[in-house]
C-alpha cells in the first residue's frame, strides 16, 4: 500500500514537473513549425526547375540545366516521393510544339492562328536515401543506380542493393526519371514517406537547386534553397492518406504556408551602383495547394503591394494558376517602362513588394503561394537566385492531393 502510494506520488510528482516544460515545448513546436528554407522539413518545394540542353538552345534562356541536391539530415534512412510538375505550354494547333504562354505578345513558335496553352502535368518517382546521405541528380538526365549503367560524370545513386553491411543502407528502388520534356520549365515537390509510400511527418529533408547556364563564352550559376514545409509534431499528426493538409485550424498535418511573401528587389531598369549594369528581377510563384489526383490547377489571384524608398505605395495583381514565371516589369503591363516595377516609375533604386494570394470562400484551398526570385545584370553580368521572406500564416488549409 505504502509502496503503491509512493509510486502514485512519484508519478504525480512527475506529471507535476511536466506541465511547465510540456506547455512550453508544445507552444514552441506549434510556433516553430514554420515553412522555411533553412531547416530540414517533411515536404520540399523547388519552385523553379529549368532545362534546355539543345545546341543551339530551343529557348531564350540559353543552354541551361538544374542540379537538384537533397540530403537526409537524420541518422535513419528515409524515402521520399517526388513530382515533376511540367508547366510547359503547348501550341493549340500543334500539341507537340513547346511554347511559353508568358511571352508577349505571343510565342512565335506557334502558328499565327494558334495560342500557347499553359500546361500542368505531373510525373512522379521514388527515392530511398540512407542515413545522412546526400544525393543529387540532373533534371535533364534523372538518376538511377550507379551500377545500372549511368553515363560517366552524371550523378547517380551509389549504394546498390548490397548496401553497407549491418543495416538497410541502400538506394535500391530509387530511380529518378528525367523531366518529361526538353526544354522544360516547372517545379519539383518531394515529401517524406515510409517504405510503403505512406506520407510521414519526418522533418529530415533539405535541398538545394543549382541552375547553371553554359553557353558559348559564358557560364553562370545560381542557387536557392528548397522551401521546406515541416510536418507537425505528434504521433498521429499525419493520417497517412493521400491528402496532405498544410496548416489551417483543424486537421493540419503540416505547417501552413505563409500568408504573405516579401520580396526586396531592384526596380526594373535600375542601374547597379557597383557594376553599372541594368538590373532585372524574375519572380517565380507556385501555389501551395495542388491537385495531382485530378490534375485540376488551383487559380489564385496574387496581390502585389509595392513600396519604394520614399514609402510610396503602388499595387497590382496577377492570376497564378499552377506556375507563374515573370519579369517584375511584365506583371502589371506589357510595356515594361510603364510598369510600377520600373525604376523610372517608382523613382528609386530598390523596393519592397508584398505578395499575397487572395483567399476566397473555398475551404479546400488556402490560396497561399511560394516562390523564389532571380536577379540578373545585363551586358554579360550574372544572375543570382534567392529565397523570398515569409510573413504570417492563415486560418485556411492548403491541400496537396496525391494520386
Amino acid at each position: 500500500m505504502n509502496r503503491g502510494f509512493r509510486k502514485i506520488a512519484l508519478v504525480v510528482a512527475l506529471f507535476a514537473s511536466i506541465p511547465a516544460s510540456t506547455s512550453r515545448v508544445s507552444a514552441d513546436d506549434v510556433t516553430d513549425a514554420h515553412v522555411a528554407s533553412d531547416v530540414p522539413a517533411a515536404i520540399l518545394v523547388f519552385p523553379k526547375v529549368v532545362v534546355d540542353t539543345a545546341d543551339p538552345p530551343a529557348t531564350a534562356r540559353g543552354r541551361v540545366d538544374t542540379l537538384i541536391r537533397i540530403s537526409n539530415s537524420s541518422n535513419q534512412p528515409v524515402s521520399m516521393k517526388c513530382f515533376w510538375v511540367n508547366a510547359n505550354g503547348h501550341c493549340s494547333t500543334s500539341p507537340s510544339t513547346i511554347c511559353d504562354p508568358n511571352l508577349v505578345p505571343k510565342d512565335v513558335r506557334c502558328d499565327a492562328n494558334a495560342v500557347c496553352q499553359p500546361g500542368w502535368q505531373e510525373t512522379d518517382f521514388l527515392v530511398n536515401i540512407t542515413s545522412r546521405q546526400p544525393v543529387a541528380w540532373l533534371a535533364s538526365r534523372g538518376a538511377a543506380g550507379c551500377d545500372q549503367g549511368s553515363p560517366p560524370g552524371v550523378p547517380c545513386f551509389p549504394l546498390d542493393s548490397n548496401g553497407i553491411p549491418g543495416g538497410p543502407n541502400t538506394n535500391a528502388g530509387s530511380r529518378v526519371n528525367a523531366v518529361p520534356e526538353d526544354p522544360f520549365v516547372g517545379e519539383l515537390k518531394c515529401y517524406a514517406v515510409d517504405r510503403n509510400e505512406v506520407p510521414k511527418n519526418l522533418n529530415v529533408l533539405r535541398g538545394e537547386a543549382d541552375i547553371i547556364r553554359s553557353n558559348t563564352g559564358m557560364v553562370d550559376a545560381e542557387s536557392y534553397n528548397a522551401i521546406g514545409i515541416p510536418g507537425l509534431p505528434g504521433v498521429n499528426a499525419n493520417n497517412g492518406d493521400n491528402a496532405l493538409v498544410l496548416g489551417g485550424t483543424s486537421g493540419a498535418e503540416y505547417a501552413g504556408c505563409p500568408n504573405i511573401l516579401i520580396l526586396d528587389h531592384f526596380f526594373e531598369g535600375a542601374r547597379d551602383p557597383v557594376s553599372q549594369q541594368t538590373v532585372s528581377t524574375k519572380l517565380t510563384l507556385v501555389p501551395c495547394s495542388e491537385n495531382f489526383l485530378t490534375q485540376s490547377p488551383v487559380r489564385t489571384t496574387a496581390q502585389f503591394l509595392v513600396f519604394n524608398e520614399f514609402e510610396q505605395r503602388f499595387s497590382t495583381s496577377k492570376q497564378v494558376e499552377c506556375f507563374k514565371e515573370s519579369l517584375l516589369s511584365l506583371i502589371d503591363t506589357r510595356s515594361p517602362q510603364s510598369s510600377i516595377f520600373s525604376a523610372s516609375v517608382s523613382g528609386t533604386l530598390t523596393g519592397q513588394t508584398r505578395i499575397r494570394g487572395v483567399a476566397d470562400a473555398d475551404r479546400d484551398h488556402g490560396h497561399t503561394l511560394l516562390g523564389i526570385a532571380e536577379e540578373c545584370r545585363s551586358d554579360g553580368g550574372g544572375c543570382a537566385a534567392f529565397n523570398l521572406h515569409f510573413h504570417g500564416t492563415r486560418p485556411q488549409s492548403d491541400v496537396i492531393l496525391l494520386p
Binding site: 506529471f15 516553430d32 546526400p134 549504394l159 547553371i212 563564352g217 524608398e309 533604386l349 519592397q352
Partner: protein, 413 residues
C-alpha cells in the same frame, strides 16, 4: 489493486515522460533567414576594389574585385530604428593574407538607421550612403537611371576603408537607442564584381553576382517586449549572468548543415553541356553567435566538421573561428578533397566544439569554374545554410537547457 493501478500509472508516466523528452529534443531554434527579425547578421560583407583579400590561395595571388550591396527593409507599418555595426576582419596589412604576424583587426564601426513604414533602403558598402536630401530620382523623361541615392536617406552610412572583409550586424532599437523585440527587419546582401578580373582560377566577369538573405534573430514575446533593453543581447539559453530574464532572442542552432561538392569535383552541368574540365569550390563564412563589441573581445569557437559522403561514410575535421572566418573547405583538411571522399556530393554538419563554446551562424558560396581554355570563366552562387537544433549534443547532458549566446553592444547614445 492499488499496486496494479500504480504500476499502470507508473508505466503511463514513463511513457508520457519519454514522449515529452522526445518532444523536447525535437524543439528547434528560430534563427531565420526569411522572417522579419530584431537582429540581422550579414556574415559575409566584402568591399575590395583590387582583390587584395579575395585571392586563392590567400595572399599568394590577387583575387577578383568585389563590393557588397546591402538591402534592408522595414516590414511593419510603423517606424523602425536600428543600430548597425560593421565588424572588420581585414588584417593589419591589407596587402597580405591574415596570419599570426598579420592579425585581423576585429574593429567595429557603428551607425544608425531610421526606416519609415514598409521602407526599403540600400547602400553600397564601399562608399556608404551619405545624407544628401535632393538626390536625383530615376525617371524616363528626362532619362535618369543613375539614381543610387534616391529615396529617404536612412541616416548617414559611413564609407569603409578598402579593402574590407567582415560582417554587418543591425539591432532593432527604440527611438532612444535601446534594443527592442520588434521583429520588423529583413535584409539581403549582394556581392557584385565591379569589373572583369583575371585570377589564377579564371576570369570573373563584370556583374557576376551572388546573393544571400541576412540571418535574423527573432525577439521573443514581442507583445510584452521581454527585452530588458540593456546592452547585453541574450541569444537563446536560460537565466545566466548578464541575462537575468533568460533569453531575449531566439537561440542559434546547435549545428549548421551544408550540402556541397567535394573539393576538386567537376560540375556535371557544365561538363555535360559544354564539355571541358570544370571544377567547383565551396567557400564558407562563419561567425560566432557570441560577440562583445563593448570590450572588443572577439568570440572564438572550435568548429567540428562531420562530413558524410554519398556512401554514407563519415569523416571529420575541425578548425577555429575567431570573430569571423572565411575559408575554402579544402583548407580545413584533406577530408573535403574528392580523392579522400570518393564521391562528388557531400553533407557536412558543423557544430561547436563543446557546450561552453558559442554557437555559429554563416553562409556558403560556391565558385563554379568553367575550365575551358577559351572560356575559363568563374561564376559564383551564395546560399544560406540550414540550421538544426535537435541534433544530439554528445557533450551536453540531456536534462540541461541549451547554452545561450550573448552580443554585448556599446553604450547607447
Amino acid at each position: 489493486m492499488n499496486g496494479r493501478a500504480s504500476g499502470r500509472i507508473g508505466r503511463w508516466g514513463v511513457a508520457i515522460s519519454a514522449i515529452v523528452l522526445c518532444t523536447v529534443s525535437l524543439a528547434r531554434a528560430n534563427v531565420t533567414s526569411e522572417r522579419g527579425s530584431s537582429i540581422l547578421v550579414f556574415p559575409k560583407v566584402i568591399s575590395d576594389a583590387d582583390g587584395l583579400q579575395t585571392g586563392y590561395p590567400a595572399g599568394a595571388n590577387r583575387g577578383f574585385p568585389v563590393d557588397t550591396i546591402i538591402q534592408i527593409s522595414n516590414t511593419s507599418n510603423s517606424m523602425v530604428f536600428a543600430h548597425c555595426f560593421y565588424v572588420t576582419s581585414t588584417p593589419l596589412d591589407p596587402t597580405r593574407a591574415p596570419s599570426m604576424f598579420n592579425p585581423p583587426q576585429w574593429q567595429e564601426v557603428d551607425f544608425d538607421l531610421v526606416l519609415t513604414k514598409q521602407q526599403p533602403t540600400h547602400w553600397v558598402v564601399g562608399p556608404g550612403r551619405p545624407n544628401v536630401p535632393a538626390e536625383p530620382q530615376c525617371s524616363r523623361i528626362p532619362f535618369v537611371d543613375n539614381c543610387n541615392g534616391a529615396g529617404f536617406d536612412p541616416g548617414p552610412i559611413p564609407p569603409i576603408s578598402d579593402p574590407f572583409v567582415g560582417q554587418l550586424i543591425c539591432v532593432e532599437v527604440d527611438s532612444s537607442g535601446f534594443p527592442i523585440n520588434g521583429n520588423r527587419l529583413k535584409g539581403e546582401a549582394t556581392l557584385v564584381t565591379p569589373h572583369a578580373a583575371t585570377t589564377t582560377e579564371g576570369i570573373m566577369p563584370r556583374g557576376e553576382v551572388s546573393k544571400y538573405n541576412a540571418i535574423g534573430f527573432q525577439g521573443l514575446n514581442t507583445d510584452t517586449n521581454s527585452n530588458d533593453s540593456d546592452l547585453k543581447l541574450c541569444i537563446g539559453g536560460d537565466v545566466r549572468d548578464g541575462c537575468p530574464g533568460g533569453a531575449e532572442y531566439e537561440g542559434c542552432p546547435n549545428s549548421l548543415l551544408l550540402s556541397h561538392f567535394a573539393a576538386g569535383s567537376t560540375d556535371p552541368i557544365i561538363d555535360t553541356l559544354s564539355g571541358g574540365s570544370s571544377s567547383v569550390e565551396t567557400e564558407v563564412t562563419l561567425v560566432p553567435c557570441t560577440q562583445d563589441f563593448e570590450n572588443s573581445i572577439p568570440g572564438q569557437v572550435v568548429v567540428q566538421f562531420k562530413v558524410t559522403n554519398e556512401f554514407e561514410e563519415l569523416l571529420s575535421a575541425s578548425t577555429t573561428v575567431t570573430c569571423w572566418s572565411n575559408f575554402r573547405l579544402q583548407d580545413v583538411g584533406q577530408v573535403f578533397q574528392l580523392r579522400t571522399l570518393g564521391s562528388r556530393f557531400v553533407q557536412t554538419r558543423m557544430t561547436p566544439g563543446g557546450p561552453d563554446q558559442p554557437r555559429i551562424i554563416g553562409v556558403a558560396e560556391e565558385f563554379h569554374i568553367d575550365g575551358r581554355p577559351a572560356v575559363d570563366v568563374v561564376t559564383r552562387a551564395a546560399f544560406n545554410l540550414h540550421g538544426e537544433d535537435w541534433a544530439p549534443d554528445p557533450l551536453r547532458p540531456s536534462d540541461q537547457p541549451p547554452v545561450g549566446d550573448m552580443i554585448s553592444i556599446p553604450e547607447a547614445p
